[in-house]
Amino acid sequence: MMNVSIDLLINALVAGVLLGGFYAAVTIGVSISFGILDIVNIAHPAFIILGSYIAYILNARLGIDPIVASLIMLPAFYGLGGLVYQIYHAAFERHGQESLRGLAFFFGLLFITEVVLILGFGVDYRYVTASYIGPSLHWGVVDLPLRMLVPCLVSLALFIALQAFLSGTFIGRAIMAVAQDQLALQLMACSPRQIKRIAFAISIATTSIAGALLIVIQPVEPSIGREYIGRVFAICVLGGLGSLPGMLIGAMLVGIVESLTSTFYGPSWAPAVAFGFLLITLALRPAGLLGR
């Protein structure tokens, strides 16, 4: 009996780490848009679901692997992100009244995306086929389902690539700088608006990959994105705004605690975990774990 529950605990922990890795891919875009640019893009999860559906279409019609499909679609999502930022900037940011109306703007985008997907595809669950969906690796008592392991690894690769980009390239450093001092950036002959557009476009581009990973992990229907709104912001705030490593730790924490909760108390309680975390973090330490 004891052995069984220890096995269960180990497996729940492993599943939590894999889940957390995936959450990092879901959150990394918000970490850039909300954490660095101060743009409260609550429509981010809706873009992720859009990514899921595009991966689904390419997979079902052309038989392309969903993750490869998401990489093909990266430029399209990058362009979409640039476009959304242009509208946001022209309508709200320029006038300095982005808070209330900007929030309503993104809320509307979220809602429109969801309803359009429902109109186009109905509320049925959609799924993709790929060779790594199904089999598991076994290592002692530990099960490593490939459909969790592959997204986790892709997500970590995305994290490393973005972290290297932000800290190693000129544009990446300019993005980090735009959060701190726009005037200084202008004195370095950089347009803050252009840098912000690039950064926001990158944040939306990540939703292409995150969407593909999501539909690899679980079947997707249009309204599933709502569950992720609170979760991504919880992870983002938990890790500390503007800190990518903090975000990764936050994602792991939420993943592990959710996995333990659903293993020992039942899956229906899992959504409350992230929000509980969020409320506690906001109340006790609004700066987050590794906040700036």
Binding site: F34, L100, L103, G108, E114, V115, R226, G230, A272, L278
Partner: protein, 324 residues
């Protein structure tokens, strides 16, 4: 216009609406009208917090659902008359609003908005796991055949919602013209400056969140009797949250007229589109209207009218001149 005159006008208008609906005698008019009235209350309630103090609440659906589930709970526990249930729903949601107000203590701007979303999901999880009120399966509420004096039960619910809408409108207008309303506006424009000038921001924020939550709860309490079947995903649905934000935004925030105009327009449009096209498409229309209005017409319909109507231009212009 004094408070009493305004109240009288509202009551007379409401009586006219009810009389008209009875005269038409079409039950569908009552069904559709109930929804429009319900959204007038929701829009006014959202506006008390969002429009007056500038705190965006994305969790309106949760307060509405709390009211509805209060009614479900008492329906199972011991059936009570609906006006009483509305009061109880208001108390429960008002307390939840007070709790949310304590969050607003520490959180400003976007953080508060995200926290309200989080609160909505926590409450939904609690209800989903609470079997007494039906859990995730939902609960059936069989409404009585007829009501005392009125006859048809839907007519009775319509009348109650009409009364609540009048109460919400009169409350909103009274707040706007009182010290409370000026305090709210001060918080919205510059909370730090308001605090420095001696405005009791904490107490005012708590009043705003409690009032706003209470009205949403009162709007939700008759809902199970209206619809007959309540399910968490429907009661906590995003539609209510979106509508509660979209209506004041489209009508114009900051005054009681805006949410009223927005709610009547958008809810009627939705009812019409649901019947003629499809319910999904009607929601899409609301989404596009919301995005379109926040981009193009920040002041909503009321703002547009103010811009083009010469009568109120003077006031507008002097305001513009102060702006940087």
């Amino acid at each position: 216009m004094g408070f009493r005159v305004f109240l009288l006008i509202c009551v007379v208008l409401a009586a006219g609406v009810f009389g008209m609906a009875r005269f038409i005698g079409n039950d569908y008019a009552f069904f559709a009208g109930y929804v429009v009235l319900q959204f007038i209350v929701m829009a006014q309630a959202w506006n008390i917090l969002g429009g007056y103090t500038g705190y965006v609440n994305f969790g309106s659906a949760a307060f509405f659902a709390l009211g509805a589930y209060t009614a479900v709970f008492f329906h199972k526990f011991h059936p009570l008359p609906i006006p009483l249930l509305m009061g109880l729903g208001g108390v429960v949601s008002g307390l939840a609003g007070l709790g949310m107000g304590y969050l607003a203590l520490r959180l400003r701007g976007a953080f508060f908005a995200i926290a309200t979303l989080a609160l909505a999901v926590v409450l939904q999880t609690l209800v989903v796991n609470w079997n007494y009120v039906g859990g995730s399966r939902g609960a059936y509420v069989i409404r009585p055949e007829s009501a005392w004096l009125i006859g048809n039960y839907v007519h009775y619910l319509f009348l109650l919602m009409l009364a609540l809408a009048v109460l919400a409108i009169v409350t909103a207008r009274t707040i706007e013209r009182s010290r409370l309303g000026y305090g709210f506006a001060a918080i919205r424009d510059d909370e730090l400056a308001a605090e420095a000038a001696g405005v009791p921001t904490l107490r005012l924020k708590l009043i705003a969140t409690t009032l706003s939550g209470a009205f949403m709860g009162m709007a939700g309490a008759p809902f199970p009797y209206y619809i007959g079947y309540v399910q968490p995903t429907a009661a906590f649905g995003l539609d209510y949250a979106v509508n509660a934000i979209a209506m004041p935004m489209i009508g114009g925030t900051g005054t009681w007229i805006g949410p009223l105009v927005g709610a009547i327009l958008v809810a009627s449009l939705q009812q019409w589109a649901t019947v003629t096209i499809s319910s999904e498409l009607s929601l899409l229309v609301v989404g596009f209207l919301l995005v379109g209005f926040v981009i193009v017409a920040p002041g909503g319909i009321v703002g547009l009218v103010g811009r083009y109507l010469p009568a109120s231009r003077g006031g507008r212009k002097s305001k513009r001149a102060d702006a940087p």
